[in-house]
């Protein structure tokens, strides 16, 4: 009887139930703190897929200055990044690379689809080499429309993402 109780399966169940209780107990205070940390240090990957990168560059410039909103300039290794901004058209040659980059990023990770091309294919919907949106490649959190989106729109999109992170449960 006793031996059955302490079998590995039971212990696993017990631990997971305990952790559920713990998470539920801690989610409110601790989750808020953890999410708060995530919100203000979003590191984007430096992966430019098309021409929207010009506006992304302008957004990091002194006039728009996305750093105010907790997005750091995109110059770093992708192993320390948690945000990927798909900057425009994704072609068939770029798509596997985009997925590879996404897979290499550590959890948690977020995706912003920037520009009409990244959302639906946009102007290039009938081109033979362009994907109709990136949803099939990576899970998108926020869509930022425009062709290209103005930097203000991109900033609004990132603020929406921050709202989303704040409300999400910690994993």
């Amino acid at each position: 009887m006793k031996k059955e109780l302490v079998s590995p399966t039971n212990i696993n169940v017990m631990v997971s139930k305990l952790s559920d209780i713990l998470v539920k107990a801690l989610d409110a205070p601790l989750g808020y703190a953890i999410n708060w940390g995530r919100v203000w240090s979003l590191w984007p990957v430096h992966l430019e897929t098309a021409c929207c990168s010009v506006e992304f560059g302008a957004a990091s410039g002194p006039r728009y200055d996305v750093e105010r909103f907790g997005i750091i300039e995109a110059f770093g290794s992708l192993r320390q990044c948690d945000l990927i901004v798909v900057q425009g058209t994704v072609t068939r040659k770029m798509a596997p690379r985009l997925r590879m980059v996404y897979d290499q990023m550590p959890e948690p990770k977020y995706v912003i689809a920037m520009g009409a091309c990244a959302i639906t294919g946009g102007l290039y919907i009938d081109s033979y080499n362009v994907l109709p949106g990136v949803d099939g490649i990576v899970p998108v959190d926020v869509y930022v429309p425009g062709c290209p989106p103005r930097p203000e729109t991109l900033i609004q999109g990132t603020m929406l993402l921050q709202e989303k992170i704040k409300r999400s449960k910690i994993k």
Binding site: T49, V54, G61, R63, V101, Y124, S127, N129, V130
Partner: protein, 386 residues
């Protein structure tokens, strides 16, 4: 003093295995891009022997969107918005030569005021492009101020263009027959004020960036492209001008009103990285004078756009027209079969031609010089892929 052979014998006795180093082991293959702070939308494979690059193979096509095929499915006016996407920060120039080619095919004469406004928009856009290029060049070389200053000043030119065309970067302003709309009230004063301010700023750029000993050390004498090789490789724009060939389409084949404008072709003779990065800067300076002249000589009133049919079409034929864009000669080869849709459009861009110089220049350089060499080629990958 044991020789290498003795060591092998010894190791065999001990049951160890020493592997001889072959040529292939010494070389390391690096894939630069497309996820790389330096490469942009572009990938190239390099092989390094120690610190030296011994092989380079560009692999473009990450933004190949089939512009040339798409052109065959749209009429000449519908083509404009997607044709400017390859270089959205130089969009007036990339549609300029397209408009010239279509005008030649259809047989339209652009009103004089329209020609001036076109040239004005083109010059303003050249500043926008070159400032962005300079900003990226600065951050490539670790000079953060040189990222912030040009990006900030670029916004001022973008404001001007926004007042003129209504859009931040994608203007769709140059169209066959002229420009979309007239210049707004008070634009001339704003423009003159901005140019005056910018000329002062250019001096500061020169002080903090081009005259900085660190920058000079990193670029002077690096990756020299001689005059003969520049001709042989057929490079374009600032790269060929840096190698001592004063070739500028605005002078060589003046389009629209450029033969009425007094300016000098800026060129240097050294052909190294410094010259290649300094010539676009000199172009910006010269462009300021051109803008002032354009504003002075512009006719005060008149049409800005010739009347077109709804679906402009001309007799069967072909045209090849080029303009000087921020990256060099930008040509359109348009074949028409008499229908409103072009039969074939070939875009000949400076970036694609400059890409040929990349393996040529990188081989023999140190790995640390790679960003300086790469971006000095005035290369914009999206445009090269089309």
């Amino acid at each position: 003093m044991t020789s290498l052979e003795d060591k092998f014998e010894e190791s065999k006795k001990l049951g160890l295995q020493i592997v001889r180093e072959t040529e292939d082991d010494r070389l390391m293959t690096l894939s630069v891009g497309p996820q790389h702070p330096g490469s942009g939308h572009f990938r190239f494979t390099i092989k390094v022997d120690g610190d030296y690059i011994v092989y380079c193979d560009p692999d473009p096509g990450y933004v190949h969107r089939g512009e040339e095929k798409m052109c065959e499915y749209r009429n000449v006016i519908q083509n404009i918005p997607h044709l400017e996407r390859p270089v959205i920060h130089d969009s007036n120039n990339i549609t300029y030569s397209y408009s010239l080619a279509i005008e030649e095919l259809v047989g339209i004469e652009v009103p004089r005021r329209g020609q001036y406004i076109r040239a004005l928009a083109s010059e303003l856009n050249r500043q926008v492009y070159t400032l962005y290029w300079l900003a990226i060049y600065g951050i490539f070389l670790g000079h953060s101020t040189m990222f912030m200053w040009p990006t900030g000043d670029r916004e001022l030119f973008i404001d001007l263009l926004e007042a003129l065309t209504g859009a931040r970067v994608t203007h769709a302003f140059n169209i066959p027959g002229g420009v979309r709309n007239d210049i707004p009230d008070g634009f001339k004063d704003r423009c003159v004020r901005q140019v005056r301010y910018f000329q002062k700023r250019l001096k500061e750029y020169e002080d903090i960036f081009y005259n900085m000993p660190l920058f000079r050390q990193r670029t002077e004498g690096v990756a020299v492209l001689s005059k003969e090789d520049a001709v042989k490789l057929g490079v374009a724009g600032s790269v060929v001008r840096a190698s001592g060939i004063p070739y500028d389409i605005r002078k060589a084949e003046p389009y629209d009103i450029y033969n009425e404008i007094d300016f000098k072709v800026q060129y240097m003779k050294t052909g190294d990285c410094f010259a290649r990065s300094y010539v676009p800067f000199l172009d910006m300076k010269e462009s300021c004078y051109i803008i002032e002249q354009l504003l002075d000589k512009m006719p005060q009133s008149g049409e800005v756009r010739a009347k077109l049919q709804p679906n402009p079409k001309g007799p069967p034929g072909e045209a090849y027209r080029r303009v000087e864009s921020g990256r060099g000669a930008l040509g359109y080869y348009v074949v028409s079969d008499g229908t409103p849709k072009p039969y074939r459009v070939k875009i000949s861009v400076g970036s694609f031609r400059n890409m040929l110089a990349l393996p040529y220049l990188l081989v023999g350089q140190k790995l640390a010089d790679m960003p300086a060499v790469y971006w000095s080629l005035n290369y914009w990958p999206v445009e090269a892929d089309r």
